[in-house]
Structures are given as structure tokens and as C-alpha cells.
Amino acid sequence: MSPDPAEAPETGQAPQRADGPEKARPLSPVRALDVDPLLDDPETRIVVCCGSGGVGKTTTAAALGLRAAERGRKVVVLTIDPARRLAQSMGIDSLDNVPRRVKGTEGEGELHAMMLDMKRTFDEVVEAHADPERAAVILANPFYQSLSAGFAGTQEYMAMEKLGQLRAKDEWDLIVVDTPPSRSALDFLDAPKRLGSFLDGRLIRLLTAPAKLGGRAGMAFLNVGMSMMTGTLGKLLGGQLLKDVQTFVAAMDTTFGGFRTRADATYKLLQAPGTAFLVVAAPERDALREAAYFVERLAAEKMPLVGLVLNRVHGSGAGRLSAERALAAAENLEDPRIVDQGGGKAGLRNSPDSYGSSRSTASAAAPDAPASEEGSPADEERSVDRLTAGLLRLHADRMQLLSREQRTRDRFTARHPEVAVVEVPALPGDVHDLAGLRDIGTLLAAGATEHTELP
């Protein structure tokens, strides 16, 4: 404890700041991300929310969608794997592959929401590009059924496919996409290309029509490898599966243009002006490490990153009281001997008289308490002391959390000063309804303005 703890902070304090709400104040970003201009800009047609799992990505996407809608735009939110709660918060019991109008939004705009059904989406691609007979063959193919039911990459690919479809319809002013909960940030960008290049690639061509290559010089070696490989794969997978793959690819190949081309088109759509990537994170080590990785990756792919949404940032209205002082004060209350500095007084401390005298001269000028409370019994006072000690410990925890969050965030901004940040204060509970989403939207928009006032 400092020798004169009572006076020290009183002097240098700017009253207006101490009285202010100060929520989420402690972290001051290098650049603030202003959400509203982004959502209002008619040029913004796609917002992609990406980030690691468990950081509130889907909630952020929904809140942004609602805010844009209530600011007058016609919006569709494409979620990949929403918690049931989130669907319910938008007043929809279950989301499916078709955009559903969300009721209860305010203003002229519209909010629609849908959840990606990857099998359904894949089926639609097939149905759209093949004549009915051929489509039926593909849809019945066992290899196709497994592929479309969701193995590695399919979900990411279909999310991109759906995005492309929604954008092509030109029915919405703004599409907000929530990315799949991938193993790592990379999958989301890689998988479409991977699946595309596989289905459209050399391997498949070799598998399906090795004879075509026979004549070409230089391919002879490959062909040797090829027959060996077909044999190996056949042995490994069983001949039936390989045959299923071959039939599937042959049917796909003749019916519609390369998957690669489609994947490339979606990829270009993501790079185009009008698309805005938001990386979502929480001020925790792992989430921000993942976010940094994503930022670097987006830059490498020339994807338009507009900023970082930092969810669950803690603040405190009593930011001037440090964790150390709060803990020391809590100890004083729990063990009065320390504050009294004399064993003799400790026993008497809980009587009203000694309570008054145990206060230092610094706080002696505090007789503004109502008389009714002044006369409260000793044990009640003891329980208030105990409670107050608890409040102080709670505050100490909060301040320690704040400084950890700040350190973690600072590490990120030091590495990526160019990335604009918006912070969303931590809320004690989950979002249950449109009002909750609206609140988050308000916080998202307020995050930026609040910070511009900081020194």
C-alpha cells in the first residue's frame, strides 16, 4: 500500500472521465474501424466474417446484417453452422438453404437469413448444369453422395458456391457471410481451389481417360506412373469405389464446365471491390494469433480486408483503481489488524466507535451517511466489509483481465498497425433475440466513435 492512498488519486483526477461510463475504454487501437459507413456504402455488396471458432463470428455476422437492414439495405445473412439460439434470435426456428425473411426489423430495409445446406447446394449445382437424366445418374452415384454429404472441403466449397449464386441473383444489396468453422483459417480459402482443382485436374483426367494421353510425347512416363497408380488406388479403395469415382467424374465432366473455373470465379468475386473481409477475434492469445495469421493470408491473396472485430473486450468503470490497490484494500477489510497497525484496536474495530477512529484523517470528512445506516449492528457491518472485500477482489480480477487483454491486443497491433480495429464490450449473457443482436450492432458501431475521443 502506498503511504497515503486516500489522497494520491484524488488530485490528478479528471472528473468527467472518472464519471463517464468508460465501457471498453482501456484498449486504444491504432486505427478505429467505423462500421456504419461500410454497411451504408452501396458499393459494399459482400461482407465476409472470418476467424477461429468460439469468438462470436456468427453472432457478429448476424448483428452486422441486422444493422445494415435497419439502416435501409436489403440484406441476406448466410450462416454456415449457426447455433440453434442464433436462428431463434432472428425469430426463425430453423434455418435452411433458402433465404427467409426475418420479421421484426425496424425501418425500410429487409433482413433475410439462411443456413448453408451443403448437400442441397451441391445437388442444385448438379441439377442446374446437367440434363435431368444425367443429373439423376450423378445424384445416385455413391461417390457423389459421400462427397456432397460433407467431407473435407465440401462445406467450404459449397459456401463459396452459394455466395456466388446469391451474388449472381443480384436480389440483395448486401450479403453477409459467416465462414465455416474450419480446422484452420487456411481451409476456407484453400478448400474451394483444392476441390476445384481435384475435380477438374490432371489426376481425374488420368483416372478417367488415360488413353487420351498415350500419344503425347513426354507423357509416357506419367502414363507408366498412371497405370501403377490406378492399380494402387484400386487396391487401396477397392475397385468399386474407383469405378464410382470414374463414373461420377465422367458424368460431371461432360455436363458442365470445370469446377476450377467456378472456383476461380468465386475467388475473383472475393477479391473484387465491393467485398469486405472482417476478421473476428477475441482478445485472447490463440484467437489473435489465428487472426494475425488470417490477416497475413488475406494480404497474400489480395483479399480486401477492412478490419478486425475484437469481441468480448472487458472494461471497467473504476479503471483508476489498480488491481494491486484493490487487493490490498480487500485484505485490509478482511483482516482489520493490518489497517489498524495495532493488535489492541483490532478486537474493537467492529464497534461503531472504533470504526470511526480506525478511519484515517484523510477520510474523516465522510459523515454524509444517513443516520439510519450509522446505527447498523456490528455483524451487518462485518458482512458489508466482507462483501466490499469481495467487490474489490472482483475488481482486481477485472483489472488483471483488462491488462492481459491489452497486452494481447497490443501484440497484434504492433504486428499489424495497418489493420483497423473495432472493439465490442463483453456481455455477461448470450444473445437471445433481435434486440440482443441490435445491441451488439450498436456496440459495433459505437466502438469506433468511442475510441476517436481517446488521446
Binding site: 439460439r85 473435407a152 484515517s360 466482507r386 483481465l401 492481459r404 448470450d430
Partner: protein, 325 residues
């Protein structure tokens, strides 16, 4: 105690940490455990503060009482090449396959093959014996994919077994399923005391049970210490502001009069207590939901300073104390 311990959980619940602590706890008293990573994130290496793990079983920690923890990051590509070598002696040809994209195909896009290779490798470690006929590892702990994908991941062998109706992959899938659906395996789910992770845990358990995969325990991770108890929270609602101001003043935090330093702390501190109360109530609710799942529950404390190696050992001790290992 099942010899294959699979640890899953919603993203952000700390399943890698729990898996690592479990591997340490199970290794105590001279046992040997293998901690397996399947998602290529190198989370284990980060936790144990070592360099990235290769595709190789490597000792990464010594447990109290002389036990050993080995770790393995399973790389599906290398596992496939391994497998080809083992069954077909295809060392060099593997590289040619890789060049053609066949390995990429098999491990990335081919239905479920990736998952078969990953679970297959773990099951192989479970069954492996040394020359004297002892099991190579007393326990294998898998840091598995998240709750949303765990059933499909573990059950994929069934799907592949249906798809590849003959051949070594088919046989492999069958053998793996025999281990995964036996009492030799237990699938644990890590959760937080928050609504969404608890909901996902409940859904995950239902899915696992429907697939007849053996569900082990629910481990509630990052449980915050109880700073204020129910009695305190009751008092928070009724306490006079001036009494708190006086108590703060007594504690040496300035004047209790209006505008005094101690007095100015009252509102923000009570606001923080109200937030705490709201969260406390939510946590109690979620505890009740978890209680209805009919599974043994374990609780691990939050390490406010973040997880490090020392914390991992503490968690391992805690797991042993609660009889979770």
C-alpha cells in the same frame, strides 16, 4: 479406464489443453501415454513449449512419479505414405503418387479417407505391443476435432466401410470401428459454463449415443473462482451505497462522502458485481443442464494468467484428484 481417450469440445473450450493434461495425469506413476494430434494445428507443441512436432512419436514431458508423455502430430499425407509402405512396400512410388496429386486427393477430398487414416493411426498405437508383449502405450489420448464434427469423424469409418466395400481401406475401417465402439474407447467432451458450448455438448452427446460411440465424461473447463457467493449476491441487491462507501474508505481508498474517491468507486464496483451476478446465474443454469445429461462431470479451474506448462501440471493433478484419469 479405457485405453483410448478421445477429447473433443466446442472451439475455444480448451480441448487441447484438457487432452494434454489428461495425458500427463494418466502418465503419472510410471505409465506411458501417447498424446495424438489430428488437426495439424501444432497445438500440443505450443502447450508444451517445444518446437513443431514432426510425424514421429516423441517424448515431450515427464510426469510426476517417472511416467512419460509422448506426442504425435498425425499428418494424413505421411500416414498414407506410411500405410502404403507398410502394406505395399511403395516407398519411392509414393513420391510419384504425390506428384500426381493422388496423395492430395486421397487425404483431402476423397470421402473420409483422411479421417480413416487419422483414427487408424491412433488405433494402431492403442493396439501396438512391444517385444515382450506389453502394450507400447498404457493410454492414448486424442486431441480430436470439435464437438460439431466428432461423431462424423469417429464414425467415418462406418461410412467408408460402406463406400469402399472391399479392399484394405475397407478392412482397416472395420478394424478401427471395432476399437472405437468398444469399451476400450471413451469420448470426453470439454465445455464451458456458457449456453452455446453446453447446448453443443448436449447435441454432441446425443449424436455420439445415436452412433453407439462410447461417451465418457463431460469436463467443464475454465471454471471461474467463486469470488462472491450466493449470500454476497443477495446482499449486493440490498446493501446501502453509503455502507459500501464507508467500508471502502475504511480500507484506505479515500473519502466516503459524496464525490470522495471511495464513494466514486461504489457504482462501478456494484455494476461489476451485477454483471458477475448475471453470469453466476447463467452458470448455475448451465450446471443444471449439464447435470441432466446423466454423465460424470469434472471441473477444471480457469488459469487467469493463461495456460502454460506449470498450469498444465496443475490441471493434471486436479484431474487425478477428481478421479478423472
Amino acid at each position: 479406464m479405457s485405453r483410448l481417450q478421445v477429447v473433443s469440445g466446442k472451439g475455444g473450450t480448451g480441448k487441447t489443453t484438457v487432452a494434454a493434461a489428461l495425458a500427463l495425469a494418466l502418465a503419472t506413476e510410471g505409465k506411458r501415454t501417447l498424446l495424438v494430434e489430428v488437426e495439424g494445428r501444432q497445438g500440443i507443441a505450443q502447450l508444451f513449449e517445444t518446437e513443431a512436432l514432426p510425424y514421429e512419436e516423441r517424448k515431450i514431458a515427464v510426469a510426476p512419479g517417472g511416467g512419460e508423455v509422448y506426442a504425435l502430430a498425425i499428418d494424413p499425407e505421411l500416414a498414407l505414405l506410411d500405410y502404403l509402405q507398410m502394406f505395399y512396400k511403395l516407398g519411392g512410388a509414393g513420391r510419384a503418387l504425390k506428384k500426381l496429386g493422388a496423395i492430395d486427393f486421397a487425404t483431402t477430398v476423397a470421402p473420409g479417407i483422411r479421417d480413416v487414416l487419422l483414427t487408424g493411426k491412433a488405433c494402431e498405437a492403442v493396439r501396438r505391443k512391444d517385444k515382450s508383449g506389453r502394450f507400447a502405450y498404457d493410454y492414448v489420448v486424442m486431441d480430436a476435432p470439435p464437438t460439431g464434427r466428432i461423431t462424423r469423424f469417429l464414425n467415418v469409418n462406418d461410412e467408408v466401410a460402406g463406400l469402399a466395400k472391399i479392399g484394405p481401406i475397407h478392412n482397416q475401417a472395420q478394424a478401427v470401428m471395432r476399437v472405437l465402439k468398444s469399451p476400450e474407447t471413451a469420448v470426453h467432451l470439454v465445455t464451458l459454463l456458457e449456453e452455446m458450448p453446453v447446448q453443443e455438448t448436449a447435441d454432441g452427446i446425443a449424436e455420439l449415443r445415436a452412433a453407439r460411440l462410447p461417451v465418457g465424461r463431460v469436463i467443464v473447463n475454465m471454471v471461474r473462482p467463486e469470488v462472491l457467493d450466493a449470500g454476497d449476491l443477495e446482499l449486493v441487491r440490498t446493501v446501502g451505497r453509503s455502507s459500501v462507501a464507508r467500508a471502502l474508505s475504511t480500507a484506505g481508498l479515500g473519502g466516503a462522502r459524496r464525490g470522495g474517491n471511495a464513494e466514486k468507486l461504489v457504482d462501478p464496483l456494484l455494476a461489476q458485481a451485477a454483471e458477475y451476478a448475471e453470469r453466476y446465474a447463467l452458470e448455475q443454469e448451465q450446471r443444471a443442464v449439464l447435470g441432466e445429461l446423466g454423465l460424470p462431470l469434472g471441473e477444471l479451474p480457469l488459469f487467469a494468467e493463461g495456460m502454460d506448462l506449470a498450469g498444465l501440471y496443475e490441471l493434471a493433478t486436479e484431474l487425478r484428484k477428481q478421479g478423472l484419469s
